[in-house]
Assembly symmetry: C2
Homo-oligomer: 363 residues x 2
């Protein structure tokens, strides 16, 4: 089937571009001698995770236990959950999953460490953990240096936890407006983590893994001596935001939303059938910018406004009702999360349909 | 099960409030002698649609053919698709569905009318349509007066289309900052529609149905003499945006997201496990406001920031890791669309789990 025969709205993946994106990041990791553990939040698709592992990733990163279970069920067997997991039910799922695959969990509090340890003790099982460090994003995570060392000592006293090392996410790079600013965040992200890992080691605490790296910062923190792992996610598809963060060119974007023009109610207004429930409301690039809600390269126009089911394009460019257009989204990860499947396209033909198995895995 | 035993993030419905919301709007429609045809985009749940019909709705409104099919499969049998449907595959679905239920479709172009008529002719079937009017929102729809009359004449010449009347959506009420401004939009919405319907009638074209009304405007346009139908959607749950549009009080909001505090990394920062993939990025109230991403009434705090899996609350209010909180979302319709089910709560107990059958029905 040709891609324009797909009913809309629908997700398309340019397979050649995705394959290139996957191999470029794997090549970088190989060159720098760091492990690549891609975050699967972007695609939520075990098949694509396997492509990343085949290309050289050591394992994968997930955000939730339910996503990790979905990935494990399809054969992924080395999973880092790069988030705190709180609550008895979820911890019981962790314990069950850890019997089947190599699993590691982020911890950033005494409460988190001790409640996990207690559950593991009852189950007579151990689990690897990493300490989440706040390297400047000011989201979750303990501060580097002293606070990280303090939590490491608490974990060392937990009989059923095994400290694998440290992880961070330099998400504040998304606020930077220059390539140099992002480079600076990335280098700082790596440096502060290596320093903290060394502090732990000087105090007799093992910290083998030093895990860093979002898509915009991976090339910078991954090059810092002493960093052992990078965890970019969005690079698999890239998106408009990543082009503005200097992580890719528009032609590297592998994901698009196929939409149909359903109405041309005025000479300067075109309506497509992809609204918030397909494109999401995520803004483009840095917070505060108003860069529209997706870009149609073939027409050089931007979606001006979205309502739930309507995309509004304010333009006097030529469109026809019934015409299909491909829209590069602002933020790939949240757009994929709206759909149940993605159509892999090569040379205009649908080569493969990917099920987004992780969609709806909320817990 | 008590509601706080539900694993998070999860959707809760306060059943008593939802029932009250459903009956209040039905009572209003009865009093004014207009038909209530609620838009099911908010809940995407056939069971709740049936509750609305039981309370007095004449039928339902859907945005898409796939949603209409889902509703019809569960016994809803009078459906208006309040959107343009373009493309052969979807039109074939329309034709099949119209064999089973009373179905009506919005049309706003000669292309839309003629392509639909041609397909119906081949299938030897007729279909009711309404003309979508742009009463000021400037999205889809033809302008009232002359342009609407022109399209009505084209439809009258389509052998297999039967014109039921007119529909509009006064969505520009969402930009108004005063109750008077919303009332004005609502009254104008109703008035312009009645005038256009009368213009058609004066020209010998039947226009029985004059369908108007969003949640903020329904009480105003529904009271305009000559309006025959209102189609509010969000009223079933209400949300923070509706409180700012004077459509409800905070205590009328029936939908909330249950979340768990997973980290308290600083004295003035609390992290919950509901991010963009649960709450969506939809802003609160009118465009341009920064009112946060959801409100926790019990704590009187607002979610400051969201990333995909994290809600960040910048507060020095007291929270504990592991604590569960209920968050009223900015925009109910898009939040429901993120989940597969909703937990109906009464007196703190889970009384019923509703499947969101329409989620993922993209086409």
């Amino acid at each position: 089937m040709q891609f324009h025969e797909i009913d809309t709205p629908a997700l398309l993946i340019d397979l050649a571009r995705m394959e290139q994106n996957i191999s470029q990041m794997a090549d970088f990791a190989r060159q720098k001698g760091v492990d690549l553990r891609p975050h699967t939040k972007t695609h939520k698709c075990p098949e694509i995770a396997k492509m990343q592992v085949t290309a050289g990733a050591v394992g994968i990163t997930c955000a939730k236990i339910s996503e990790a279970e979905t990935m494990a069920a399809e054969g992924l067997n080395d999973i880092l959950i790069a988030n705190e997991i709180i609550g008895t039910k979820k911890i019981n799922h962790l314990i069950e999953l850890a019997k089947k695959v190599r699993l590691c969990l982020a911890v950033d509090s005494e409460f988190g460490a001790k409640s996990l340890n207690q559950a593991l003790e009852q189950a007579d099982q151990t689990l690897e953990v990493v300490i989440e460090i706040n390297c400047g994003q000011n989201r979750a995570g303990v501060l580097p240096g002293g606070p990280a060392h303090e939590l490491a000592r608490i974990i060392a006293d937990c009989s059923h936890l095994k400290l694998r090392g440290l992880m961070t996410h330099g998400g504040h790079s998304y606020n930077e407006i220059s390539k140099e600013g992002i480079e600076e965040v990335g280098i700082h992200e790596g440096t502060v983590m290596v320093q903290t890992a060394n502090l732990l080691r000087q105090n007799g605490i093992s910290a083998k893994t030093v895990s860093t790296g979002s898509t915009p910062t991976a090339y910078y923190c991954g090059a810092v001596e002493g960093v052992t792992e990078i965890r970019p996610g969005t690079y698999v598809f890239y998106d408009l935001t990543q082009t503005e963060l200097f992580a890719c060119s528009p032609q590297d974007c592998a994901l698009s939303v196929l939409a149909t023009v359903t109405s041309i109610p005025a000479a300067d207004r075109v309506i497509v059938d992809a609204g918030k429930k397909a494109m999401t409301s995520d803004p483009r690039g840095r917070a505060g910018q108003n860069g529209g809600f997706g870009y149609i390269p073939e027409k050089d126009v931007t979606i001006s406004k979205l309502s739930e089911e309507h995309g509004v394009i304010e333009t006097d460019s030529k469109f026809e009702i019934g015409e299909k257009v491909r829209i590069i989204p602002n933020h790939a990860c949240v757009v994929v999360n709206m759909f149940d499947e993605m159509h892999g396209i090569r040379n205009g033909q649908v080569e493969k349909v990917f099920r987004i198995e992780g969609r709806g895995k909320m817990l």
